[in-house]
Symmetry: C2
Subunit: 721 residues, 2 copies
């Protein structure tokens, strides 16, 4: 029998060996490769107890069973009482196995969803306890403990307490009901709406496991460019099926609400948020939803932005709209996330100023269950932006951070770009709203202004691709978003290290090499795309590749020339007091930092300043030469990543090695396209040569301008930009 199992396993392994396809994400649970560590773990983990019964605890059992047997290479028995050394006990405060005083002590600083992991002695047996107030806390603790094993950390004398820093840790799926995904580069939507609720794809479970393992506790299933169909009874039954499945993983379901739904579905003549019939329609709809899904999370709304309907069509404010929906879900403890990503098609003001202009005056007028959801920067998820001026500017309103995990502007699913450094740059930025050290993170987590309702949203990069995210390394961005939403104080480096150890290898040279690539990767992308504060110069509509030449579109602020302002004198968008004065929206110390070219960090130079081509940069080079060097350095650094990766051949599995190698090669050619396009295009203004020692572009500017990518993925259906 044992023999048969062995053979069976080998057969499976042989076939799957070919298919190291990334499906397992960071939850691989392969046998610990270091024999010494393995032996230590085997001595420390002789059995386990999950004390209690619930759907969530059943998941803990499954996960721990899977994890222990995989990592330790043998089945680890479960116990019902503490009769052996080396037990791992998963329990809540109510557990009778552990002295209640001890549990209370260990959990007293741990929040609702948090957990404690500690070593203690019970009945003279040394055990590890993983405890939480709620079952989901125990699940989070279990994943923490498994992570320690996966990354081969010490597990003796544990004393860990952990709680999330923000309350809502959500993925936003820009998934359409026809399964296309706006700005999705990893295939199509996971949600097989046609076959729901009858057919439950087993992938939904693995999606939930992955999210729970990094503390994500909510998912917005539908695109912010919303379709009212999702609110019909037929579709709500499908949503319920997903909500029921996700519930034991601690994941709530949210939907996007199309503001005109009362007209489209309810036969009303208006969607005016102050109209009594409209209010009643939404109240009824909320009641209908909560009857099916008692813990439904609430609504995310994109209104009066890029063609979406909204309250301003009825001369009402965003607050009127948000509050009307908030009142509808309030009886059920629902939340409304109202997006601040708006820009008026009539106001010719600097696009970077418009969200602030619109929302700042509304501070204090929102219901308690409303969050205003603000993108990290004031334009649109560019490779680099300064933090959004709304952070710190609305002390009476909880602001939800919106990061983009999907790489709309950062190379789709072909560029290796680790985003934790981008996320951290924004979170750690000091908004100075309540004096020094009023970081964006502290605004978001409520400590600056004392908000209770807090959250972070990440626009998901997940699709039907077998490896979930298209690029094997894009998984790290999903992972790091979750880890930072849980604890924004972790560093990008710490997160990269744990992800690499779980996903690729615990071998120190491999970890070091991959970490180096990851940590450098975002700056490399900035260099070959938009160095020195340049922004929004990408391809038209699909946003693929470079498009610094884009002009003469239906709106000026949908063009590239609007943002780079290149002319024969120089380049850059003057947002200082002598220009659009977008800078005036920030606190004074921030203004001071950026206002002067001498103090402005060079990575933001052209975001805030229009400067002559001859401007002397810190290196002593002219602006033109410095820009050229940056673009070339970006490409050279991609080549450095290629060499680094090639040094890992045979140190990571061959399948993923080859995949990443192919993708790095694509990235190199895309980086060259970016560099050549931008340098040649900007040269038409600077009229200066590319510094002599740099390789000459292989093609003419016309060649690059004529490249077309009509079917680049991720385009919004039936609507452009």
């Amino acid at each position: 029998m044992k023999k048969i199992i062995v053979f069976f396993c080998c057969a499976v392994a042989c076939f799957t060996a070919r298919a190291e396809d990334g499906y397992r994400l960071w939850l691989r649970y392969d046998l610990i490769s270091d024999n010494q560590v393995l032996n230590t773990y085997r001595q420390s983990i002789k059995g386990w107890i999950v004390d209690g019964q619930s759907p969530t605890l059943a998941i803990v059992k499954d996960e721990v069973g899977l994890g222990f047997s995989g990592l330790l290479g043998k089945s680890i028995p479960s116990f019902t009482s503490v009769t052996s050394d080396g037990l791992v006990i998963f329990c809540s405060k109510k557990s009778s196995l552990i002295p209640s005083l001890l549990l209370e002590e260990k959990l007293k600083n741990v929040g609702e969803e948090g957990y404690a992991v500690f070593t203690t002695t019970l009945n003279k047996k040394k055990v590890i306890v993983i405890a939480g107030h709620q079952d989901v806390g125990i699940l989070y603790g279990a994943f923490h403990f498994l992570r320690l094993l996966q990354s081969q950390q010490k597990i003796s004398d544990l004393s860990i307490e952990s709680s999330p820093k923000v309350k809502l840790r959500l993925l936003n799926h820009w998934d359409n009901l026809d399964r296309t995904v706006e700005r999705g580069y990893a295939g199509f939507s996971l949600w097989d709406w046609h076959r729901l609720p009858g057919y439950i794809d087993s992938r939904y479970y693995d999606y939930a496991r992955a999210n729970a393992s990094i503390g994500i506790n909510g998912t917005v299933l539908t695109n912010v460019n919303a379709n009212a169909l999702i609110l019909t009874p037929t579709y709500l039954l499908k949503v319920k099926a997903l909500a029921d499945l996700f519930r034991p993983y601690g994941i709530k379901v949210f939907l996007t609400a199309r503001f005109s739904a009362p007209i489209e579905l309810g036969d009303l003549k208006t969607a005016d948020p102050l109209d009594e019939q409209v209010k009643q329609w939404w109240k009824n709809k909320a009641a209908e939803i909560y009857k099916l899904i008692p813990d439904f999370g609430g609504f995310v709304v994109k209104a009066n932005s890029e063609g979406q309907p909204g309250p301003q069509q009825y001369q009402r404010t965003h607050a009127d709209g948000a509050n009307m929906l908030a009142d509808a879900v309030a009886p059920f403890n629902g939340t409304v996330m109202w997006r601040a990503f708006v820009y008026d098609d009539k106001v010719p003001d600097d696009r970077a100023k418009q969200a602030y202009n619109e929302f700042k005056p509304l501070d204090g007028t929102f219901r308690k269950n409303v969050l205003v959801q603000v993108k990290n920067g004031p334009v649109d998820f560019q490779p680099r932006e300064p933090f959004h001026p709304l952070f710190g500017a609305m002390p009476k309103t909880p602001l939800m951070m919106e990061f983009q995990i999907t790489q709309e502007y950062l190379g789709f699913a072909t560029n290796l770009v680790y985003l934790a450094t981008l996320f951290k740059e924004c979170l750690d930025a000091d908004a100075y709203s309540k004096g020094k050290n009023s970081t964006v993170a502290k605004v978001v987590d409520g400590t600056v202004d004392g908000n209770q309702l807090t959250g972070m949203a990440g626009v998901a990069n997940i699709g039907t691709d077998r490896n979930w995210c298209g690029h094997p390394f894009a998984q790290a961005n999903w992972y790091s978003f979750g880890r930072l939403a849980w604890d924004h104080q972790r560093t990008a480096e710490q997160i990269a290290e744990e992800w690499i150890r779980m996903t690729y290898s615990n071998e120190s040279q491999v970890v070091a090499s991959i970490k180096q690539m990851m940590l450098a990767s975002r700056e490399i992308a900035v260099d070959y795309m938009t160095p020195l504060g340049l922004h929004h110069i990408m391809g038209w509509s699909h946003h693929y590749g470079p498009g610094p030449w884009i002009k003469n579109k239906q709106r000026a602020d949908w063009t590239s020339v609007y943002y780079h302002q290149a002319d024969s004198n120089g380049i850059g968008f003057n947002r200082t007091s002598t220009g659009s004065n977008a800078l005036g929206q920030y606190a004074v110390p921030v203004q001071k930092l950026f206002e002067s070219t001498s103090s402005c960090p060079e990575e933001y130079l052209l975001w805030f300043h229009h400067l002559p081509w001859s401007y002397k940069t810190k290196s002593g080079e002219t602006l033109w030469n410095a820009m050229c060097y940056k673009y070339y350095q970006g490409v050279d650094s991609v080549r450095w990543m290629q060499r680094t990766w090639e040094s890992l051949k045979n140190k990571v599995d061959n399948d993923r090695y080859q995949q990443v190698k192919m993708l790095l090669s694509i990235q190199e050619s895309e980086a060259v396209n970016w560099r050549n396009s931008c340098v040649l295009y900007f040269q038409t203004f600077s009229k200066q040569p590319i510094p002599a020692k740099l390789e000459k572009p292989a093609q003419s500017l016309e060649y690059y301008e004529k490249l077309e990518f009509p079917l680049a993925p991720g385009i919004r259906p039936r609507f452009v930009w």
Copy 2:
């Protein structure tokens, strides 16, 4: 070390155990479950030799290594000479290991792509030889041998010869370049055009393996509703990447040609096939393609049909169009498949007659490298149609069979419908074109009219779903299409049996139960959808579910009422001499069979006859009652399939057990919808009660008529019907 492998395997197995997701198709290679068989095999297979070197033989090595080690549960060594009993030798005629006279003898009746598998004695050692003229024949033979093992057949004293009965055995992918799939229900297109040619998805290899294993030797990558973009240099490089990858598997790549491409891509003012510039444009394009892909298969064309451009726009015939393209590819041995699925939007004649009317007069006017590709039936892939009258009617033109594997009209990917019985029904039908026994199969394989160029196309049901086809049982339709294209004399039962053994189990009770379900399943679907010869009464545009009430559309022959002709007197389309006389397009014996209601098989009754509700069927029941019984029997039989499947719990793996269980439950509710919709709708004409003992429909006709499925999958983009 061995221990580590065991543990590693177990870890993999544990994780993948959860994910018995159907990805491995029928190429599972799990350990032989029957110990006696296993021991016999281990004694008979002690080693293997692949004699020769080529990309195709490298694939043979990989596949045999994978298959033997998996099936036999141990690594089987490769040899270089015959020094042991029990060797399996893969070789061509040139092999020095085997006496050349013996090989010549064994291969003399085997065609170009065929193979021989035989037991013989060499150097006094008993060996099994798998030989082919070409390397791809050896690959086919290898898959044959592995199939014997997978299905636990006897392998002593083998003496097998096998050659394909038709030359072109193609999948037609109706895949759009944006990765949507017209009439696709298994996710989206496998072809990741955006990342090709740089990124080669490992799935492409498994697609090629699966096709080679069933003898498919060509793939048409793009939708017949074609996009000229595929013919641009950028896309041709992507096509080349796929062609290079598929080549060693014996699979040629084909494309669909948009007839207006010379205008769209070439800046010509016309696409007139007799225009010299147009001819030259296509010649240049062909040369461009063949320079990249020397073995490019050729073009499939849908012209002057459902909005597609074609030669008739220039007052030219289909032959003019086809010949112009044929001349362009002829210097490179390319083939043109010109589809006969056309119907004129001006001619109000019976739609079932139009392809014949259009093409029959063109017989003998096509170039030698043209096949006319004809759907199995004269309307459009209905659950049941009589065979297409063109089969046998164009003796001077090779006709290519076009089957639809994707279940556009047979329940999408939620209904278990085994299509081999449908394919066989058509292939075995006697067209009587050259006297009795002029079966459709013999027309297609060239024996009736002596054609050399022969082929079968299957519209693929393959997509990005992890199990490839959406429904675990839909894999059987891909499989059986390939097997029948290779040898149309195999029975649906034989093919089902081998597929079940390879895919689910060799246990006789499991095989018997599943086979029973599969063999009955198509008739069951006919019963609850379109019994007694009814056809084309499905939902509008998406074709999901019932829509017998569809009327008043832009064309009469896009409605249901056009096809069922129900009125207060009766129901059915009179296609006899007193009606449209579509029957007149068949040979006289066929006419005779169908013309009289007394000889017309009841399954075709309402296809050919309009009959009163009181018509006495063979059972003695009135037509109305007989129709009701059929619809109810269909639903009851789905419930029988559910019970049969439930009897297999714990006899097939739990993952696929649950998947199929969910899908059967969906199928049951869809069958009820079909039954109730059709019975209630037709009752408005018959004015008669549903027989008393049958369960009453749960909802009113209005309820069913109002059901909407606006986002049912597989809809053609930017174009309806």
